[in-house]
Symmetry: C2
Subunit: 211 residues, 2 copies
């Protein structure tokens, strides 16, 4: 235990420390962006909420535009992870899509996912926009792909995959607008109730010929 | 036909003329708000697009804040009309809700409905906000009421009406974000496909015990 009791931090401890500080700044910033809007948030307020100075924020993360991009990328990263995780699941295309949608809904109730929906993309600098749009496109394409795999294996009704994906994404994105992070209902419970309603809409057995 | 051929307009003609001018300004303004964002739109550009001067816009409608409020109220008015129309329909609560949702989706693809979703409500002046929020609350309450009537008469599955209404509203609100007004697919067709998917999710017969 000599290394942990030494007053000199190891290289690893320094990295961890730096990551913890970056995370604290990002979390404080994203919560203010979500509550007040990006333009109405000043880094002075973010710094004050952490008891640090603005130059300290610049040191760890850069300016407000860079912090916004970082927050949005963290939100999108969680959605990409949800895609990757769903893809490894056994079972039908339906099962994989449902699992993905449940994770997606939960991300939309987390600070960084909320920021993706609540911040108009015009708030990004023109330099950041292409990278951001590119990740978004990947997520949209992945959702469409999961739907199409389910249609192909017969576990999802043969619907217009584009309209289905917009319907599902819209229903779940909207939680970023109405969900109160201080509310009492469990996030996992909200996600599974909503996805259950939506999944009933694309189950083939539930779609008898009209009449 | 003497009155129409007279060079002097009747009081009625003057009113119609005034309404047509107001509508033209509102339509031009809302399209720019939707395309560029409220803050990035100048009334000079709106005036130029109509070949008129900014004072003419002030004369017919007032300043930019007043025009935004007018646009948003027109969007919400269409939703209130959809509620009123759905309420007069015979049939089950399910039928009335479905009809309401179809109209709702179509409003979200119209310029004024799009503006309701695309414009952050912080863009409104603090004076306008209470009136705006009040109309929004009425619409939310009406959707919840239609759902609860359907649950009561057994035509809608016994779901959490709050989560169901957020799921439905979110799915349809999102069309204001993705739908391209110059796209080829018919608005009525998009609305009925989406509502059909959603309605399948809350049909009682489609919700057998899990397993």
């Amino acid at each position: 235990m000599t290394s942990t009791s030494s007053p000199f931090r190891t290289a690893e401890q320094k990295l961890e420390d730096r990551a913890a500080k970056r995370n604290a700044v990002l979390r404080a910033a994203v919560q203010m962006f979500n509550a007040r809007g990006f333009h109405a948030t000043s880094l002075d307020d973010v710094a004050a909420s952490l008891g640090i100075s603005k130059p300290t924020i610049y040191h760890y993360l850069g300016n407000k535009d860079q912090i916004l991009l970082e927050c949005l990328k963290l939100g999108l990263q969680q959605l990409l992870e949800a895609v990757a995780q769903a893809r490894t699941l056994p079972g039908s295309g339906f099962d994989r899509l449902v699992r993905f949608l449940e994770c997606y809904a939960e991300v939309m109730m987390d600070d960084f996912g909320r920021c993706v929906i609540r911040t108009p993309q015009e708030s990004l600098t023109p330099q950041s926009l292409p990278e951001y749009r590119d990740i978004k496109r990947k997520i949209d394409a992945a959702m469409r792909e999961l739907i199409e795999e389910g249609i192909a294996d017969g576990s999802i009704a043969a619907l217009d995959s584009r309209l289905l994906s917009f319907t599902l994404a819209g229903a779940l994105n909207w939680t970023a607008r109405w969900h109160n992070p201080d509310g009492e209902q469990d996030v996992g419970e909200i996600a599974s109730t909503m996805v259950d309603i939506l999944a009933n809409g694309f189950t083939p057995a539930n779609r008898p010929p009209p009449g």
